[in-house]
């Protein structure tokens, strides 16, 4: 059977990878902010597909929700700031393009070389097909990880990976939460401008 001959995993990977990269490049070459944001959304959405393929479905959904949702805000501001002059775009000078492309190309070359240099990375997991569907469900494990318990490491030797009291991600989780809160409050404060304050400032 021809269909059976396909490696579906690879095929879907190719599909999502092409979408991701393609839209990223489209974003690079677009001048209109809203178009850029639109391409960015598609690119991020396609990379969420890659996450799902890699078995990280919680992260994939998270990516959709927060990353794509965050880009939505970018999009809105793009709309807001360009509502009056929709077709005025800021062109990049060609010199900058050449510089950026040369540097970016060399960086890409470097990264690609690195990616294929390591033997261990080049071969897929030979037993990937044997992993049960249910085993890829990581939500519970992630949730427990955040509360400080690594349920996937319960069987590991006592003194190797699980240091008592440092076993999970409780502390980083709390730190990130507080960080996020502070940042949001700060951002809201910064973005808020009072006309009167500004105009008196300008007058003074």
């Amino acid at each position: 059977m021809l269909l059976a001959a396909f490696d579906w995993h690879s095929l879907f990977f190719m599909f999502f990878a092409l979408l991701t990269c393609g839209f990223a490049v489209a974003m690079l070459f677009s001048d209109n902010v809203v178009h850029m944001a639109f391409y960015l959304i598609l690119s991020l959405g396609a990379s969420a597909g890659l996450f799902f393929l890699a078995g990280a479905e919680f992260v994939g959904a998270m990516q959709l929700m927060i990353y794509v949702g965050g880009t939505l805000v970018l999009l809105i501001f793009g709309v807001m700031l360009t509502a009056q002059s929709r077709f005025i775009s800021m062109k990049t000078r060609s010199g900058e393009w050449v510089m950026a492309l040369v540097l970016g190309g060399s960086l890409l070359f470097l990264l690609l070389t690195a990616a294929f240099r390591v033997e261990d990375w080049r071969d897929g997991n030979p037993n990937a097909a044997d992993i049960g569907i249910a085993e890829s469900k990581t939500t519970t494990q992630i949730g427990m990880g955040f509360t400080g318990v690594r349920v996937d490491r319960l069987d590991a030797p006592e003194d190797s990976t699980l240091v008592p009291g440092m076993s999970g991600y409780l502390l980083p989780f709390v730190i990130v939460s507080v960080h996020l809160l502070v940042v949001l409050v700060g951002a809201a404060y910064m973005a808020r401008t009072k006309r009167r304050a500004t105009s008196t400032g300008a007058a003074a």
């Binding site: 809203v34 939505l72 037993n127 049960g132 085993e135 509360t147 319960l154 076993s167």
Partner: protein, 423 residues
């Protein structure tokens, strides 16, 4: 279903998956598109009755049931106009973005026990995320139309939906917390039994949360009194002012699609999903049997679910044809001053109830089952994992056990949690 084709029809695995996928896609598209047809007809009938008139009567016999189809034919025949000032690409793409998002969310929505296109561990999360993406459609449409009214609609939509996602998420978390899973099938199955077992009646807080959820859901799918993005008396038609013909009707299909989606989600999360108020199939023993009887039980559950979702939709219609529209600042006030605090309060209350194992309506004398087991559903999932591994055809020696978190290990994990990870 793929397993069914694989085993019963002896199709090779990839082909079985392909066929199953196609069948699922077709089924869901029917739910969304045909559902939209029915709901638009229903909306007309409901609004007609509410407004002392008959609604459609002519097309298709007694109840005008072909009316929407006739409209559809009219819309197909209409000219598809793109305004001169429009951003061509985004203008064309916007309706499909909304429709695709609304459609995608159905992938994770179970229609009955196990009847789900993709059995997803993070179904609730996925549906919320995809519903969030649906907002792009009005925003892009509003921006790309090149009309100021559309732009107003887009900005309103953005402000509204992004804000309402917060209380919506909070409300959705409550059933997930009580059931201990994000898996909709598990949540639904845990509410089997009498209607006292439905999560809305679990404790007073969950009931409040259910009401808040429905309010926020109405707002997040842009239905009156929160239909500010298309407010016809202010913004003419808001984001879809410039659309015509079939492209315009895609907005409608998306709207009705997501209306049913959020109602269905409400049904599963709070109102027992596919479980009827009285567990007929369980009493008859059909749901534990297999073959045709099990299928019938599932089908009955599916009807149950569809009915509950439809009731939710009809309530939305009822509200729409009764209430005036709120103003944008009042919509935001409703969200930030009422919905968010109430949802947060409901969350804390439900948490308190759960932690202290206060009696639920299910614990009323004489009814129900003990819910203790049900609470630890991640343990159940671990058992499922075990089963799935056991069922694997070729157990491999290199198959490292990744999470022996079955019920045996439960005490150990609980101890870990209690001691903050220090063993």
């Amino acid at each position: 279903m793929a397993e069914f084709f694989h085993t019963t029809c002896s199709l090779p695995t990839p082909l079985a998956y392909l066929v199953a996928a196609i069948i699922h896609c077709v089924l869901i598209i029917h739910v969304v598109a045909v559902g939209a047809l029915i709901f638009i007809w229903l909306e007309r009938k409901v609004s007609g009755r509410i407004q002392d008139r008959l609604g459609p009567t002519r097309v298709g016999g007694a109840f005008g049931w072909l009316q929407t189809l006739a409209d559809g034919i009219k819309l197909i025949a209409k000219e598809d106009i793109t305004p001169k000032d429009a951003d061509w690409m985004l203008f064309k793409a916007a309706p499909y973005v909304g429709f695709a998002a609304s459609y995608c969310a159905y992938i994770a929505l179970p229609f009955s026990d196990g009847w789900v296109a993709q059995h997803m561990n993070t179904a609730v999360f996925f549906i919320l995320a995809v519903l969030g993406i649906e907002v792009f459609s009005p925003i892009l449409a509003g921006y790309a139309s090149g009309s100021k009214w559309s732009l107003f609609g887009a900005m309103r939509e953005a402000a509204q939906v992004v804000s309402y996602e917060v209380p919506l998420g909070m409300c959705v978390v409550v059933p997930c917390m009580i059931c201990g899973t994000l898996n909709l099938v598990t949540i639904g199955n845990q509410q089997a039994g009498l209607f006292t077992n439905w999560l809305a009646f679990n404790d007073p807080f969950t009931f409040v949360v259910a009401v808040v959820y429905f309010t926020c859901a109405t707002a997040s799918v842009n239905r009156a009194p929160f239909d500010l993005a298309e407010a016809e008396s202010e913004l003419v038609a808001g984001f879809h002012t410039e659309y015509s013909g079939l492209r315009w009707s895609f907005f409608f299909m998306a709207e009705y699609g997501s209306m049913f989606l959020v109602s269905g989600l409400a049904a599963i999360l709070f109102f027992g999903g596919w479980n009827g108020p009285i567990p007929i199939f369980q009493v008859l023993g059909w749901s534990e049997s297999d073959g045709v009887l099990l299928y019938l039980a599932r089908l009955g559950g599916c009807l149950n679910f569809l009915l509950k979702g439809t009731i939710g939709v009809v309530v939305m219609m009822w509200v729409r044809w009764t209430l005036p529209r709120l103003r944008i600042d009042q919509v935001m006030t409703t969200c930030l001053k009422y919905c968010v605090p109430i949802a947060a309060f409901g969350f804390l209350g439900a948490l308190f109830w759960q932690v202290n194992e206060l009696p639920t309506s299910n614990d009323l004398p004489g009814i129900g089952i003990n819910r203790f087991e049900a609470r630890e559903s991640w343990v159940i999932e671990a058992d499922q994992q075990r089963a799935s591994r056991a069922a694997a055809v070729t157990p491999s020696p290199s198959d490292v056990p990744i999470g022996p978190i079955g019920s045996v290990e439960f005490d150990r994990v609980e101890a870990l949690v209690m001691t903050g990870g220090a063993r």
